[in-house]
Subunit: 299 residues, 2 copies
């Protein structure tokens, strides 16, 4: 493999070398560790691994905005809902509880997954990160997008495996990461089939159905892909089982992203349990401050 | 499209023409109904649509064999289980109930999905269909395998969407249909993560989690693929909603397979509700007796 030109925004060092050496081992035809293309599955956590998650997880910011109906920002909610909200606003006593109950009510009355997707897309068009003053989708990590591209170019199927909800990620992941919606695994609500408008629609119910975190990530990968990933990337305790599971493959790459750069991004620990797991299983650690030349796409 | 050589085991007729015309419409670059490759999703029911389901659904035959422990057939169960079974056999009063409870016990103690896959594969190696005296995997429908191949060759992602369990289908679907396990959607049990043997394993619990039939097929497709199929094939009332949902796409192909040939296969009705839905939605009907030159691979 001509590794000179790969991963240009990575500094030379152990992390970059591990990634490139792994790709070479599993994709070189006469390598003893060659893995056929259909078994080249890589899984990536999203928040803190592919894009930033501070000061707040982006999906929570979105949900707060949905509840808050901040008039200063054009809101990603359907006109019908906004009018109903204005009507309801007269009756509000405890703002937060009422806001939450409005959203709950909206879910109960039936939001289709298509509608929800358009709310998310509309919100992302307008929302900006408080510190970097950019759209959130421009705050994905450039070095990780290079990894996704390089893996895809080497026959890997990249899956995004997030504790966040798949409904929030699917509208934009293909444009941002080149990962199609069917390769997104996330937390889920109960859904139901609605037949009201002549055509069928899938509606979301305000009832959690599956929490895709920790052991849940392994169960969801097994349930959807039914193959063990041979590479996994994460940054927190919710990723420990996924990385351990990938590590049971005969040849594997398990990578922990560490947020070490409060100047260009944020500095925070992945937690003692995650560091202990990284140590005992020999995971590759990425030190953002040292290993990444660029964190975000410049400009 | 040179349609002469396509679908060789189909008789000329409406069904074959509909399929080929649909493919041409959605894959020809300057067609007004052109669909970009990433949206070319086709979903296929399994039992009765891709392979035979009479006199009994194959998965039920497998489960009965698992419970029955017929000594005349080498069984696909682990040695530990067989020994336990022999021990337990002394205590059996009501054979069927006890057998079922043994299987339940095995599930409760923990079967990993990997183990279960190997049981299924072992059983399929040995089991033979009572009438045709062939392995079940040789009783897939040749005309439908041609459809799967032709769709794949036209940039479609084919998904198998079965009321049966995904654990039963995934071990053999890639060899039989060219459909990889991650493109199988099926009924599911609760699973749990086991940490007992140093490596992690996913274990099945004897608790139904999701029944992939009727409206469930739409919910499962939305949950896993998050795109509407533009083509869907089914043969029974459990497929009505899936076909109706595919039919809401601007250009779609909805196909109902009718079992009309008791000489070469079986003759039975898809049910009045299914026939009514086919009529009111204008689905393409396949008359096995008339439309298929060959039903199974000869020899």
């Amino acid at each position: 493999m001509d590794t000179q030109n790969h991963l240009p925004s990575w500094q030379p060092g152990l992390a970059r070398s591990h990634i490139l050496a792994f790709l070479e081992r599993v994709t070189t035809a006469d390598s003893p560790e060659f893995v056929p293309p259909q078994q080249r599955i890589a899984t990536f956590d999203n928040d803190g691994t592919l894009w930033l998650e501070k000061p707040n997880i982006t999906e929570l910011v979105f949900l707060k905005d949905l509840m808050r109906f901040d008039e200063k920002r054009t809101l990603p909610v359907g006109a019908g809902l906004r009018q109903r909200v204005k009507h309801w606003l007269h009756h509000i006593h405890d703002e937060l509880i009422e806001d939450a109950s409005l959203l709950f009510k909206e879910f109960r009355e039936g939001i289709s997954t298509d509608e929800y997707h358009s709310w998310v897309a509309d919100w992302l068009d307008k929302a900006r990160h408080p510190r970097f003053d950019k759209p959130y989708t421009e705050l994905t990590y450039l070095p990780m997008r290079e990894v996704l591209q390089l893996f895809a170019a080497h026959g890997f199927k990249n899956y995004l495996v997030s504790g966040g909800s798949c409904y929030f990620i699917r509208p934009w992941c293909e444009a941002a990461y080149g990962i199609p919606p069917e390769q997104v695994i996330g937390s889920k609500l109960i859904t139901r089939l609605s037949d009201k408008s002549g055509g069928l629609e899938v509606e979301m119910a305000p009832v959690p159905w599956f929490f895709d975190n920790g052991p849940g990530k392994v169960l969801a990968i097994e349930s959807q892909i039914a193959r063990r990933p041979i590479a996994a990337f994460g940054n927190s305790s919710g990723d420990i089982q996924m990385l351990r599971w990938a590590g049971t493959s005969p040849t594997s790459l398990c990578v922990l992203i560490e947020h070490t750069d409060d100047e260009r991004e944020y500095r925070y620990s992945p937690g003692d349990d995650t560091l202990a797991a990284a140590k005992s299983h020999g995971w590759t650690k990425v030190d953002m401050q040292r290993d990444w030349r660029q964190i975000f796409q410049p400009g």
